[in-house]
Amino acid sequence: MTVERSKAKAKGRYDWGLLSVVSILLSLGVVMVFSASYPRGMEGFGDPYYFVFRQVVWLVIGVAALIVTARIPYTLWDRWSIPIMGVALLSLLAVIIIGAERFGATRTYYNGSIQPSEPAKIAIIVYVSAWLTSKGRRIRDARAGLLPFGVLMGIVAVLIVLQPEISTAVLIVATAAIMLFVAGADMKQLALVGVIATGTFLMVIQYSSYAGDRIQRYLDSMGNPLASDEWQVSQGVQALMRGGFFGTGLGNGQAQQTGYLPVSWSDNIYGVIGEELGLLGALFVILLFALLAWRGLRIALRSPDNFGMLLATGITTILILQALLNTAVIVAAAPPTGVTLPFVSYGGSSLVASLAGIGILLSISRFSVESTARAPQLGRYSYERVDLRRGDGRSRVSRTGRRSAARAGSYQSTTPRHPSVGDGRVRGSSNRSKGGGSP
């Protein structure tokens, strides 16, 4: 049976639940981008469809990227993780060095349409997954795990902060830390990382004129966002206030009109959703991201190897964190950032990168233990053990190269499969958690 599975791995089932959630988010995104951008399109470009047309073009490109990444076995990324990371670092560096000398924002090149930090997010997650997988259990060793990890993330963070995109750097560092945590890092070490990262972050914003100012202005307005100095904050909150429970109805919002919510179609689209679709719409978006988290983490848990688990966790985490940060900005629970709402906001690079990430998740889901035929009687024990074996970091560490899942799959046949492995109590508790537990 297992042999069969290893041969037929490409025929596994995609996670249609995830795909549905993302499709709904994308549809909502296109509708809302149109609703939020037509006044500006009319005014700025004489074309109400200016933004939504570009969004649809990027959507098509993104879906193509999704199809490609979904069809590529995710284990490919493991093997290519070092070159991918190299390209990502180089492109980040290139933006800083040769990037269009547009003042204050060297974040993009190529006529402003590509933000390398967006694909870089995925590349960094791929690399961190591969690296953590290769280290296996040794990540608990500070010199082998924490120190190199810290140095690596430091370099990456510095490059992104220099873009300058502090909020993206925060997202990436937070995601990497979560991956480190999921990979089994020592909690004490992780706490230390947290302290150091927070300190660094505070120092960076202290010395960064643009972020520090924003945060200061935000803190000043915490008490009463309505009277905020920060136009964006007060306008975002007011859009929500106008929306109420049911909203003003699609296209009836005021937020997108000139002089209200800035960049309503992009970073602040959640405000338009809150106004036009009301609390119902706003909660619906949060529900969709909750479902996305559930499907993403479910894929992670069921992935056949540690690399897949970490990769799925990383991609899911960064999307969720990004959504949380974006919505938190609108409700004035966080200072204004330049982070978009994944799948919904206008913005090409972000959309394509996010969809490529979803493609990778789908690819992992195809190899998921549950999605392949397995004898029902094996039940969760079987599942768990297969997982465990695949996730055995030591065997990997002991080898020099990285290894494909196919190879790992072959171990299975040699593995005894009976409930007596390990401690029943532990497994029992794991099972219970997992049974009810997919978020």
């Binding site: 005014e43 700025g44 547009r102 204050g104 924002a105 974040r107 402003g112 259990r137 945590f181 089994g184 004129s209 643009y210 136009w231 007011q238 929500l240 206030m241 929306g243 109420g244 005021q254 000139t258 002089g259 992009s266 970073d267 809150g274 009301g278 609390l279 706003a282 949060i286 909750a290 992670a300 540690n306 969720i320 964190l321 949380l324 938190a328 409700v331 004035a332 629970a333 950032t337 330049g338 913005g347 768990e384 053990r385 465990l388 074996r389 996730g391 055995d392 030591r394 065997s395 002991s398 080898r399 593995t415 005894p416 390990g422 401690d423 497994r427 508790s429 794991s430 958690s433 978020p439």
Partner: protein
Amino acid sequence: MTAAVPEPTRSAAPQAMSEQHTVTLESIQKRDVWRFWMLVFGFGALAILVVVPLFVHQIIQYGQARPPGQAHQGESPRGNIVDRNGALLAADRFSYEVSATPSYFRSEEERMEAARLLEELAGIPAAETFNLLSTYADLKFVRLAPAISLEAGRRILEEQAILAEESGVHPLLNVTLTPTPQRYYPERAVGAQVVGSLAILGDAAWTQGVSGIEDYYDQYLRKRDGVGLTGRSFSKLSELPADVRRFLPSVAGKDLILTLDRNVQWIAEEELQWALTQFRAQSGTIIVMDPRTGEILAMANSPTFDPNDLSKADMAAVQNTAISAQYEPGSVFKMITAAAALDSGVVTPTQTLTDTGSIAVGQRVILNSDRVAHGVVDMTEALARSLNVITAQWALMLGQKQFYQYLERFGFGQVTEVDLADEVYGLIKRPGTLDWSLSDLGTNSFGQGLAVTPIQMANAIASIANGGKLMRPYIVKARVLDGQVQFTEPTVLGTTIRPETAKALTDILVDIVTDGNSAAAVPGYRIAGKSGTAQIPTEEGYTEDETIVTFAGYAPADDPRFVILVKLDRPDPNISRWASYTAAPAFSRVARRLFYYYNIPPDQVRLGQVASN
């Protein structure tokens, strides 16, 4: 969760497997779900941080958003105003107001960069911008340029859109562009008081009409306000002559076509200016109306102003004195008394009365202006010589009840309901009220002791020209909305006198002007009209030298095409203080040019044509 993963379990013995593929309990640990649960818990906690404020803002604080007016909202576009031939009198020109939030700039470099880009994109001097941003560095708002062109604004907006997408942070993004329709009056001072002007009143967020049509039709013209057309009779904009449609419809799509004729207005203003210069008068008004419909063809006031720059205007000049200034009309009012006397039948055109040089009415002795007794005179002579004594006799013959009934029919003491802002009522004392006495009947008969507006006077005369039908004067010929046109229907307010009376009175008035060798005459044309010189009432009584002179008349007498009222305030007494030497020639000049403009041939030619037809 952590408790469920005891340390001893983790360090349990390795499974019996090949060394390379050892599955340890440690590795079980690694995939254990508690870490995922922690993750989910963390996500959930963060989500609560979003959902709770969401509830607060959307449910508890629902509807507490500031009303639209308090948001920074630009001007609403306004419709165009064109004259009856389509000449543009008022239109929107769009521009952008450039402002910034200086406190958002953190460094010299940022200010410099924004200033540099604004100069590059829109030509706003960089040094000035930099100065403003530095000087007001602690403020939230500073205006960098009141109005830049649409194209320059677009360039900045496009740059901002690119920058916002790229980074969301850039000094240029602290610059705000507000599209501002700016009212533009291409004819400048021509018809300024009629067309009106805009201003920001009090702490209002946007401008509103403060005079003339801009005021009266303020809500209609403003696109944002939903005032539209009422009633039913519409025609299509496309059916109007192409000339009239030149500037229609506007961006706002709510436009007005006036009865005003730019050329007639120009003639009136030019001749008014001539009269003011010639007779060194302080101010003046000329009204030209079509008596058949009540259409106002021209309404000229001087001094005037340029509505494009209201701030420089003298507030007195903004006032449309033709409708909002009342004055004692003087002898020109005798036409009304004569009409009433004729219409009621108390006198006939040929009936003679004796002028003894004075007459006592109530407590007051009325004298002629020349203090001379003229003996037995008929109506024509009485009017031609403008005899106060005779006019007072007519009024006494009419009796107070009838006399004031006629004044009411002619519309005195009431607004004419012309569609212009700030019309005043005039002042007629009425029998039965405390401030009226019998002597008023006498003085009122020749235009003293009452106040009228020029438009009331012109309209009353127009009713005589129109065979006794009093029309409502109007200035908006048609309203245009969404490709539909609604014409103003001429409205008959009432009947003042019988047509026969009107005809008889016209003959008398023609005699006065044309045959009486008046300065108002235009050779070859029969013109009906009369002058009036009024002393100006002050607290110490009437002034001797300062007068208001009026001439009102219409032509051609048999088929009146226009009514002209000329009013001059305080002509220099060293030149002349009499209407017949000041207002009358000004009337003649306007009439002459109108005959030419309307291509009306001299009566002999015209009536000859009619006869031969």
